[in-house]
């Protein structure tokens, strides 16, 4: 899993927002479309794409997209 691939998959979950200014270090809550339901979408995506379980708390503690990536990456190497 590369950082870029994760970032790409993360952004794919959003359909209605202008993502041109978003980088992996952006705060994902600043994406207009973000809602509590998006946490579930991200958790499902991480399972489907990377076979990793992350929790709602992991997302709540994260600020940027990279923070989420780091959780996934750490869990991936731990497996």
């Amino acid at each position: 899993m590369t950082e870029n691939y994760f970032f790409e998959k993360f952004l794919e979950q959003f359909e209605e927002s202008d993502l041109s200014q978003i980088t992996i270090d952006s705060e994902f809550r600043s994406i207009e479309e973000w809602s509590s339901m998006m946490a579930l979408v991200i958790i499902a995506m991480v399972d489907e794409e990377f076979g990793i379980t992350i929790t709602g708390d992991d997302i709540r503690k994260s600020v940027t997209i990279r923070d989420v990536y780091n959780v996934v990456a750490a869990r991936k190497t731990a497996v």
């Binding site: 339901m37 946490a39 579930l40 958790i43 499902a44 399972d47 489907e48 379980t53 929790t55």
Partner: protein, 357 residues
């Protein structure tokens, strides 16, 4: 239209209790709340404290009052164990008979036992009759409702939340609120509407020989819905998901919301007086097919949050309505489209006038 005093007059309230609640089978709990032998649960209906008891062979409903000197037997709401009264330690068998050989005054030739109420079970739904029921449970509910209860029972596998929310309003205001969708666009904008549950018109159903009613609101498959499908199908399997929100009102006081066949609210209204009602609710989710505990837990917490918000949104208005009804000098209006309310009004009047179906 229901005459406005019916929403606050204590005399009418006692009449309702006698005519409607005492003559109907009343929903009092689910078998899954007392799954094991000697599990019990206490509920209060109009000052009757009831013990729902799993005897190992059947579910029984006893009066929660000791026949000796009338002590309340169980003080907690739930537990497991033998029925023992704390005052003089009389203990009762699973069938409600007094155990032991206490010597009693001769004038009592009968051995004391707990008062037992007639009970019927449909799927997981336990119904009790506070007085002698005037018709069979099948006749009261009707074939369709029996089928709905049986089907839903199979999906109520995991209880995720329960609470009793005290509402300072008449029980009928709550019924009227939950059986119409006209208020959703105004007050549930951030919850039901945003989640796509109330964007379409409801398809309403009821039949002329029973007092129950239902609606189905087809789910909006906008972007929000599509996003939802991604985790919903991972959690429950897309073949198990219905794209709609269904609501059932089972006269006089059982309410069931079925969200996409994956999460459910089962509620009963416990009227306390003409202006106060306990809204007793339980949330469930259907069986999950994933092992991803992070996803399951987050879905559960979102579902609980969502449900609580919806109930709070309604409660605020219901309590204002209760204050308003006493000030106004007419009986108000209903939307023509709110046919479930018309049906309820008709049933209510029929019972209050004739005392029979």
């Amino acid at each position: 239209m229901i005459e406005k005093s019916c929403y606050y007059d204590p005399l009418i309230f006692s009449k309702e209790r006698e005519i409607i609640f005492d003559s109907h089978w009343l929903f009092c709990g689910l078998t899954s709340e007392i799954p094991g032998r000697r599990d019990w649960k206490v509920i209060e209906y109009f000052g009757h404290s009831l013990i729902l008891y799993n005897s190992g062979k059947s579910i029984r409903v006893f009066q929660n009052v000791c026949p000796h000197r009338f002590n309340k037997i169980f003080d907690d709401t739930r537990g497991r164990g033998v029925i023992v009264c704390g005052y003089h330690s009389w203990s009762f068998s699973e069938e409600g008979y007094l155990v032991g050989n206490q010597e009693l005054e001769a004038e009592n030739d009968k051995r004391p036992c707990l008062k037992e109420y007639p009970t019927e079970i449909i799927g997981q739904f336990i119904f009790v009759a506070l007085k002698t029921p005037i018709q069979s449970i099948q006749k009261q509910l009707g074939k369709e409702t029996v089928e709905i209860l049986n089907t839903i029972s199979l999906r109520l596998t995991k209880r995720i939340f329960e609470q009793s929310l005290d509402h300072c309003c008449n029980w009928k205001f709550i019924v009227e609120n939950v059986i119409e969708t006209e208020h959703c666009l105004s007050i549930h904008q951030d919850t039901l509407v945003k989640a796509g549950y109330c964007q379409n018109s409801p398809i309403i159903s009821f039949d002329s020989s029973h007092d129950n009613s239902s609606f189905i609101v087809p789910f909006s498959n906008d972007n929000f819905g599509k996003k939802r499908n991604r985790f919903v199908s991972m959690l429950f399997g897309s073949e198990n998901v219905n794209s709609n929100y269904q609501h059932h009102f089972i006269f006089p006081n059982l309410l069931i919301s079925n969200f996409e066949n994956i999460n459910f609210n089962v509620s009963k209204l416990l009227p306390i007086n003409a202006e106060r009602t306990l809204f007793d609710m339980q949330f469930f989710i259907a069986p999950v097919i994933t092992n991803n505990q992070g996803l399951i837990d987050e879905f559960i917490s979102m579902t609980i949050q969502f449900g609580k918000e919806v109930f709070e949104e309604d409660k605020l208005f219901l309590e204002r309505v209760q204050k308003g009804v006493k000030q106004i000098d007419h009986n108000g209006f209903h939307y023509k489209s709110a046919t479930r309310i018309h049906k309820f009004v008709e049933s209510y009047k029929k019972w209050m006038l004739n005392g029979k179906s």
